[in-house]
Symmetry: D2
C-alpha cells in the first residue's frame, strides 16, 4: 500500500472517538484526515474542544485539526469511523453511505437492519457479503457495517469455537461491565463507588440478540440467525476498562471442560482476517490460574484485541460454565471497528 487511506472520525470528542484517534495514530493503512463533532465544537481545534480522558496523551497530529460537520467527512475521506450517539448516527450514517463513504460504525442504530452486517473478523468475515446487497437495495454508492455492543463482543468470540465444534442450545450471560462503556461523563461517581448498579439501559436486549446475528449464516440476501437462546443480566461495576461476563452454556452435545478449552485455545481467525494489522494474537487467551481473567490484569493482552477465557468447568444445570473478558473500548469498540475496516480493505470493499 503506497498511500494511506484518508479516514474521518465522526463524534471525535467522545470516549470512543478518542480511542479511534489513539488507535489510528500510527496505523499503517489509515490516516485521520477529518474529525467531526457537535455544533458546539465545529470550527474549533480538537485540542480545545476535547476533554481527553485516555491515559496516553492526545496525539500531536490531531491537536490542531478543526472540527467539522459530519457531512463534510465525505469531501476528503473514503472511510467514516462512527463514534456518534445512536440517535444521531441513524440518519447521518445513511447520508454518508449514500454519498459513497464506507461507514464503519460503533453505533447501535443500524446493527439490526437486515442488510447491515455486525462484524467480528475473527468470527464472521463472510458477512460483509451484505455490503453489495445493501448497495443494490438502497442505491448507495457507499455502505454501512457495524461492530457489536461491547459486551456481546468477547462473549461472541468465545462462543464461536464452541458453536463450530459442539453446537449451542442455550446461553445465560451475566456481565460485570466497566465504566468506560457508558461514555463520558457517563456513570456518576456517587452511583458506583462502594456500589454495583445491576442495570444498564437497553443492554440486555443487545446481548440477547446481536450474538445470534453474528453467529448466523449468510443465506441468499440475509443472515439466518443462529438457532439458540441467550438470557442476559447486565451490571455496572467500579472498573475503568474491561467487561467480564460469567457464561453458563448448554452445548449441542455433552462436552468436557478440557475439550471446550482445547477448541478455544486452538481457535484462529479465518484466513482472510488472520494477518491484518489489528488481528489479535492469540484470538482467545485461555487462562489456567483459577482466579483469571481479571480486567485490570488481562484487558491489555494482545494490545487489547485478545479475548480472555478462564475457569472453564462443569455447570450442573447447563453443562459448562466459564468467564470471558474483553477490553470494551478497544476490542469492543474503536479497535473492533478499525479491525473491521482492515477486513474491508483486505476484501477490496475499501480501496
Amino acid at each position: 500500500m503506497n498511500k494511506k487511506i484518508p479516514v474521518a472520525i465522526l463524534g471525535a470528542n467522545g470516549s470512543v472517538g478518542q480511542r479511534f484517534i489513539q488507535l489510528l495514530e500510527n496505523h499503517p493503512w489509515f490516516e485521520v484526515k477529518c474529525l467531526t463533532g457537535s455544533d458546539r465544537s465545529i470550527g474549533k481545534p480538537y485540542a480545545q474542544t476535547c476533554h481527553w480522558i485516555l491515559p496516553e496523551r492526545m496525539p500531536d497530529a490531531v491537536k490542531g485539526m478543526i472540527l467539522k460537520e459530519n457531512e463534510e467527512a465525505v469531501k476528503d475521506c473514503q472511510v467514516a469511523f462512527s463514534a456518534m450517539p445512536a440517535d444521531q448516527a441513524k440518519e447521518v450514517e445513511v447520508e454518508l453511505a449514500a454519498s459513497g463513504m464506507a461507514v464503519v460504525s460503533n453505533a447501535s442504530s443500524h446493527r439490526m437492519d437486515p442488510d447491515v452486517p455486525i462484524l467480528l473478523p475473527e468470527v464472521n468475515p463472510d458477512h460483509t457479503a451484505l455490503v453489495n446487497i445493501q448497495r443494490k437495495k438502497h442505491k448507495w454508492k457507499g455502505f454501512i457495517v457495524t461492530n457489536p455492543n461491547c459486551t456481546s463482543t468477547g462473549m461472541t468470540v468465545s462462543l464461536k469455537p464452541l458453536l463450530d465444534a459442539f453446537g449451542i442450545e442455550q446461553v445465560i450471560a451475566v456481565s460485570l461491565q466497566a465504566l468506560s462503556g457508558a461514555g463520558y461523563p457517563g456513570v456518576a461517581s456517587m452511583d458506583i463507588i462502594d456500589n454495583v448498579v445491576p442495570y444498564i439501559k437497553g443492554e440486555e436486549e443487545k446481548v440477547e440478540s446481536e450474538p445470534l446475528k453474528m453467529l448466523g449464516n449468510l443465506s441468499d440476501d440475509h443472515i439466518q440467525n443462529a438457532g439458540f437462546v441467550i438470557s442476559a443480566h447486565t451490571n455496572r461495576v467500579a472498573v475503568t476498562d474491561g467487561h467480564t461476563v460469567c457464561v453458563s452454556i448448554k452445548t449441542g452435545r455433552n462436552v468436557k471442560p478440557e475439550d471446550a478449552i482445547e477448541v478455544m485455545r486452538s481457535y484462529t481467525c479465518p484466513e482472510i482476517s488472520r494477518e491484518l494489522p489489528s488481528s489479535p494474537w492469540p484470538v482467545i487467551a485461555v487462562h489456567d490460574a483459577p482466579d483469571r481473567p481479571q480486567p485490570r490484569l488481562d484487558r491489555a493482552i494482545g494490545g487489547g484485541m485478545t479475548t480472555s477465557v478462564g475457569r472453564m468447568r462443569i455447570d450442573p444445570i447447563m453443562g459448562l460454565k466459564y468467564i470471558v473478558l474483553s477490553h470494551n473500548t478497544v476490542r469492543g469498540a474503536a479497535g473492533g471497528a478499525v479491525f473491521n475496516a482492515e477486513l474491508l480493505v483486505q476484501q477490496k470493499l475499501i480501496d
Copy 2:
C-alpha cells in the same frame, strides 16, 4: 425476661466478631460476658488487641474486657457466638457443645453435618428440631446451630416464597460479593481497585449446597434436601458491604413476574420468628425502580436484616430472573446468628 443471658463471642477480634459486639451492644436479651481470641491476644484488653474496622466506634463496655481462651467461655456464659475461622471452629465448637453451651456459629465447619441445622428464622425455624437429635447422638449437654454462608443467605430468603408457591427446579446464581465477606485483612487492595476477581475459594460449593439443606424438609432425624439444582458463579467486587446476586430460576410451573413479586412482597416470617428483636421488617423489600437494589443504597434496609429484591422479569431460558441483595456481615453473618439465638430462646432451647 428479667436478667440478660450471658453470651461469649469466640474470635472477637475478626470482622464478624466485631459485628457481633456491635449488634449485641444494647441487645434486650443477651449480654456479652466473654470474648475469646488467638493466643497472641489472650490476657490483653480488647481495645488493645482489636484493630476495629467498623464505622461506628467500639462500644465502651468491651474496651477493657480481657481476651480469654475459647474453653473459658463455658464458665460464665450459656451461649457462644462463634466467629472463628472454620479450621479452628471445627474442634472448639464440639468441645463447647459437649460442655453444655449453645453454640451459635457463623463458621462453615459443621454446616453440612447431618444433625446440625443451618438456620434462617424467616425460612426454616422448625429445623431446630435437629438440636435434640444432636444431643442424643453425641451425648452433648449443649448443641451447635449454624447460619449459612453470606451469599446463600439472601438468595435462600428470596427462594423460599417461590418454592412454597410454585416449586423450584433449577437456579443459576451469579454473585457480586462485598469485600467484608473475606474478613480482615482479606482481599488485597491491589487485587480489587479497578478490578473484579471472578473467583472465591470454596464459595460456589457452599452456594450450590447450603440453600438446598435450608429449604429441605425435616424428616425423622434428618433434613431431606430440597430437590432442585443450583449452579453458582461467585465474584468479588469493590464494595465494602452487601452481596448482590443475579438469579435465573426455573420454577415448578410457569409463573408471571407479577405473581412472583406478589408472593415475595407478602412473605412474612413464620409466627415463631416474627416478633423477635432482630426479625426483619419487611422480610423482603421488593424494589420498583429498574436499577435497584444496589448495595450502597439498600444494604441497610431493616437495620441490615431485610433482603432486597428487584428487577423481577421473564428469563427466556429459565422462566424468571431477578436481583437479590443482602447485607453480608449483618443478615449474612453476625446479625443472622443473633437472630438464630433469639429463635432458640423463643423455642426455649436456650433459657
Copy 3:
C-alpha cells in the same frame, strides 16, 4: 415548644436537599411543609422527581409532597433551608428574606456579604447579631444566614480552640475531599476511579477566606476578619462522604502537641449552642491511633456532627501539624444549616 415550626427546603431534589429531608425527618422543632425544585419538577410529587441517592430510604412523609416554586415557600413556612445552586440562590434568597423568611442557606452566594454571617454554632454564635443590621439596612422582614463551605467547616472548628488559646499566624491546608461535596451527578466516575483530581473549581478561594470571617470578631456593624493567612490545596478523592484536611499551622506562640490536643479535647460549644438538638458531642473527637481519623470509619461520630482530629505533631516549619475530618454533607452542609436554625430559635431570632 408546643407546635413545630414549619420549614421549606429550597432545591429539595439535590444531594444536599435530600440530606435536609433526612435530617429533618423526626426533628423535634421543625417540620417540613414545603419542597421547592426546578421548573421541570414543579407540580409533581417528590417521589417522582427526586433521584434519591442516600443510603437510608426516602421518608414516607415527603413522597407525596408536590414540588413548588421557591416563591411559594413563604406562604406556609417561617424558615427556608436553601440547598439551591449558588447562581439561583443569589436572588431567590434575597426575595424570601425580604418577604419575611428566615433563610438558612448552604449556598455560597451571600456568605461574603458584609452583613451576612457564616455560622458555626460551636464557634461564633454571636455573629447572628448581623441579622438585625441586615434587616435594618435592607428593610427586610426576614434575613439570611449561611453555613460555610464543607471543607472550611471542620477546619474552622479545629482552629477555634487553637486561636483562643495560642493565637494563629498562618495555616496551610491540603484537602482530600469526598465526592458528595460535588453534588449529583457531580464527578464522573471515569475521573475518579483509580485517580485523584488535584483541583476543585473555586474551592481554594473559599477555604482561604471563609474561616477568617467565622473566626473574626463582631465590631459595630460588621465582622473584623481574623488576622492570619490561609493557603489551601484542594483535591478530590474516591470517597463518598467525609472531607479530610492536612493542616500545618503556625500559632501565635510555640505550642507543644500535647497542649494543642488538650485545648481541642476540652473544647465545648458556647453555652447558647451546647444543648441544641444537633449540638455535637463531643465537639471535637481527638483520636489517639496513629492512622486516624479516616473518613469511612470516623465521619459518622456524633451523628456526623462531631469534628475529628488526629496525628497532632510537631511541624518542623510551621510548628504544629494535624489531620481534621468532618462529614461534608452532614456537619458541612445540611446538618450545619439545621444546627444554625436551632441556634436562631434559641436566640429567639426565629419563633
Copy 4:
C-alpha cells in the same frame, strides 16, 4: 556494547521485583540471569512461586528460572537489583557488595549511610563519586547505590530546577500515595475503599530527609545536605499507581509562577544521563490544564519515567505552590534503579 551485562533481581517475587523483570525484559544493556526469593520459593521455577500482579503478562524468559538464594547472585551476575524488604536488605546487600557486586538497591536500609549515594540521574549523577570512598572504607570489591523513596522521587526532580535557579528555604509536602507503594498484599481493601488513610509508617521521615541528601553537594568524602527544611504529611488513597504531592515552597527569592514554570519546562538531564536507555523525555512535563496532572492520566508519560508538574501558582504564605506526580513503581522504584545502573555503566563504574 557487544554482550549484555548479566544482572540478578533480589526479591523477585514482590511487586517491585516484578517491575524489575518487566522493565528489563528487552533492555539493551542488561540481561536477567538470576532471580532470588525467600526460603519458601528457593528451588522452584518463577512462574510457580510468583503471584504476578502487573497488567502485562509475565515475560516467557523468566517463567522457568529457578529461584536462588541471595548469595548465589554473585556467581553469574555483576549487578544486583535489590527489591528486598529493608530488614533483609541490610545485611545481604553488604555481603554482595563485599563480594564484588554492584548493588543497585530500592531498599531503604542503606540510603542514609554517609558513603552511600541516593541517586536520581536527572539530579545528582555526580554523587556516584561516593562509590570509591565506599570501596576504600569498607574494602569492598563492589558497592551499593540506592534510589530514593518513591514519594521523594518526583518531588526532588521538581525541586532541582527551583533550587538551581532560585534557592529553597522551606517545603511543605502533602502526598496522596498509590497502593502499589505498599507492596503486595500491602493495604487491605477494607482500609481503602471509600476511604483515605492519613498515615504511612516511616514515610514522612523519609520524605523530610532523602531529598536534602540528593540535593546536597559532594564535599570531600561526603554529601553536604541541602540547607532547607521539609515538612511532610503522607496519605494513602485508592489509586493503583502514581503518587501525587501538593507542594508549598518558599524559594530563596521571590519568584513568579511563570518563571518557576519556565525553569522546570526547560530542565534537562545533566549530559552524562541524558541519552541513557531509561532517560525520561521530557524530564518534567509541565501541564497547562488546571486539573492536571492526575495519576490515571499522567503516570505513564515518558514510559513512566517523566515527572509531571501542574497548577504552579502563588502561595500566600510560602510564595509558590504546585502539584507533582510521579509513577511510584516505575520512576519511583524499579525504573529508577535501572536508570541508576545505566548511569553507572555510562560512568564505567559497572562494566
